[in-house]
Amino acid sequence: MIRLPFLIVFSLLFLTSFLGASLAADSPSISKNNIIYGKFSQQRFLSGFDTPFNSQGEYYLLPGKGIIWDLIHPFQSRLIITSTRMTQIVDQKEEDIQGASEVARLIVDLITPLLSSNLSALDKNFIVSEISPKGATHTWSLNLIPKSETLNLVITDITASGGDELKQIIIRKKDNDKDIIQFSEQVTNQIGDQDVLKLFGSEG
């Protein structure tokens, strides 16, 4: 069974990455079949452990459809989130996450306004503050504190930063744990309906 809080946090990460991307690029609203994808690498620091846990992978976002998170190293795993369901694929085994449709909808509901540069929608779920606004150096930094009581039990705050595109997010958690995720090679492309179907299946 997939851990529900994990999915929520994952979604936050994804959201913040696109917050940065949209800030940096001043992107106009993205059309229906525009897919945004890129690479990530994560370092997880847990108190009491000498070395961080490192992982790498790719992400895909299709506004109006959903998001996909592909982990490549140290093992392969795919998580598909659409407006109605969440599915994880590990070792070619597909597993639906029951009772998570509300969370799935929340994620999709938040990503869409972000990509259409409707940043005010972020205020609904986060307390947003700008640490370093985009200036001549083209770098920026934002601080986000989740409003959700459930998420607050796990996360203290999130810092997102970047330049022309999102570079890094840091998630600080309870007990001095933290995740540092770096993003690279972000691309926006058009894809056909058949490709959408391939990625998201009928739920897409």
Binding site: M1, I2, R3, L4, P5, F6, L7, I8, V9, F10, S11, L12, L13, F14, F40, Q42, R44, L46, S47, G48, F49, F53, N54, S55, G57, W69, L71, P74, F75, S77, S83, T84, V90, I97, Q98, G99, A100, S101, E102, R105, D109, S148, E149, T150, L153, V154, I171, K173, K174, D175, N176, D177, D179, I181
Partner: protein, 754 residues
Amino acid sequence: MQRLFAILLFFLMLTFITIASWRVFSGKAEFVADIEYLFPKENPTQIEGSTLEKIQKSSSKQIIFLIEHSNAIKRKEAFSQLQSVLQERTTFEPTAISVAELSKIRVFQLENIGAYASDTDFRALQNEEYKPLVERSLRALYLPGSTINSKEFSQDPLGLYPSYLTSLQTQLSSTSSASASKSHHQLLIGALGPDISAERFRRDLETVDQIVAKLTSYDPQLDINYIGPGYYSREIASISKRDATWITSAALAAVIILLLLVFRSLKPALGAIFIITTGLASGAAVTLLIFDTIHLISLAFGSTLVGVVVDYAVHFYFAQRAGESPSLSSRRILLGLVGATTTTIAGFTVLLFTDVPLLSQISVFSIAGVISAAFAVILWLPALSQPPNSSITSNNASRARLFHYQIARPSLLAVMLLLSIGAGAALYTEFLPANDKVQNLRVQTPNLTERAKKIASAGGFQSNQLLLITGTNEEELLQREETIRSYLSKNKGTGEQISAVTLSHFIPSLKRQQQLCRARAHAYEAEVTAPLIKLVSKHTNTCTEITLDAKAWDTLPDQIKALKIDTSGGLSPQHLMILQGAIKGPSSVNLSEAFAWVKPIDLAARYSGALGHMRQKTTIAILTGILCVTIVACLILGWKTGFQVAVIPAFAALISPVIFYLAGGTIIFFSIIASFLVYALAADYSLFQFATKADDIDRTYKAVAVSSFSTILVFSLLSFSNIPVLQNMGAIVVIGVLIAWITAPVATLKHKET
């Protein structure tokens, strides 16, 4: 002396009406339309008594909303808006477990992290299937966004607690009060406070109407349907009031027109109005004086008293002769009137002993109504009348009467007797199957049916089932809940989704905690878990044991606390278990068969069972009553004459539900109650015809014919009512009265013989 008595009675009636009016206006007497008020009170000393009473109280004030919109975002917005406005402006609260409550549980559970594991993980540990658990934990270490925490990971390297939390949220979301699907959102709200008054509840419902109207007015695509026992009650109340008003008005108008046509004079019509008003006002006043809470169906049924009491006035005016003093006219119908009134009172008195509040009220209303109407005919009507210059009606019905009287043959009497016995046996043995489903009582209007259909098609909470688990102590109850959970998991059908919410999900039994502790310790020593355990240098196998003590109890959400039944009244310990998705599956059927300590709680089935029981009791009562009256009639009048008089009402009362059934009607508890009414009315016709003197025979014949016609007229109006009970009773009374009128000449065989 008679005049003094008449004046005293008049003032007594006025006093009753005044006090009753004061009780209504001061709020001492309350009108209700709740379905549970139709049934006898649950016995709190019985094992399910207090539980059922609690559930009845809370469910009677619940409303289910179905929110539909083609746009998912707008649907969700409407859902959130509705939820917050309802909480702000009404006493309704969603029955969902709030985020704050879940946070409170989490703090407590993290202190006792070793006590928790999902059923799936618990089984995996017991079966030593460690590999999937290890892989899951390793994945959580690397996956971006994982909520993994160093402290929790040290205490729980296999990740049993986060998995338990996800599983719990899944269980709660499938049985909670708010759910969402691809096409709709659902919300269950309830005025759960025990102190919510009927008035406050009514105001809240009006606020709900306004909120929904406002929300839907902004967006024509938004559709919000809502229904529930509380909503039904309000609709029944409104329909009952409307029906009582228009049935009374229409009945009154129909009777007046009939009397004007028959008597071609205004006086009898005015006299009839006076008798009807006296009967209805006295019936309503006495009911309001005796009962603090009056069911509106009893008022609607009481309005049909018009058809009964008008007969007394009809007999009076038919008996009047030219120049004869009105007192003498009233005395000439006295025997028939006393006999008819006594039989009606006897019939309705039986209803007083049915232990059903609604029937007791109908009984009191009818008895008070007919007594006052009878007194009004004997004492007040003559005082208000003048001796007529000519007979209001002539004694010239001979041709019609003689034609009709041809049926009065001993052979018909024998056939009626045999058919009565057959019909009685068919009703008693249920050869004619009855339908006791409580759903038959539901008010049917196109609007309500449409709403109910929509919400039923969305499924949702309607498939939630409550199970009552009994045991000797709390530990045993928790263990039994866990046994059921395990049983459901093993026995559910292919593709069957069964979710359960129990107290043991939050406070596992000590037995399970100990088993979990041992199984986990064993897992930490296994070879397959070594790579994971090696990562955690200081892992601990925390085995704190938790029980349902005050500290644990305080952390539980109210909805979970409600699963523990208050057994302070000396009952054995009981827990409730909410089961979702198993109503039609094989599991729930097997569950009560597999475990003697599990009882499904189905309010509808309980009500239906109560209706069936009351129907059987009432059938026995009417059969006993008929037998007793027949024996008394035979003893007083001789066996032959006694039979002649007694067989008519018995035949009409017993054969009418049979004919109704054969014509496609459904026999319900209230059909048998209608038979009582038929018996009382038919006895009137029989007794008036029997008691009449030879020179009044035509007058009485006409009076009975007019009375029957007016009764048929009034009860036919009931079939236009929106209340199924009244429709059913109206149809049976019409059939019964028609049969009674056709067969009434059998009572005059004595005239033939003499």
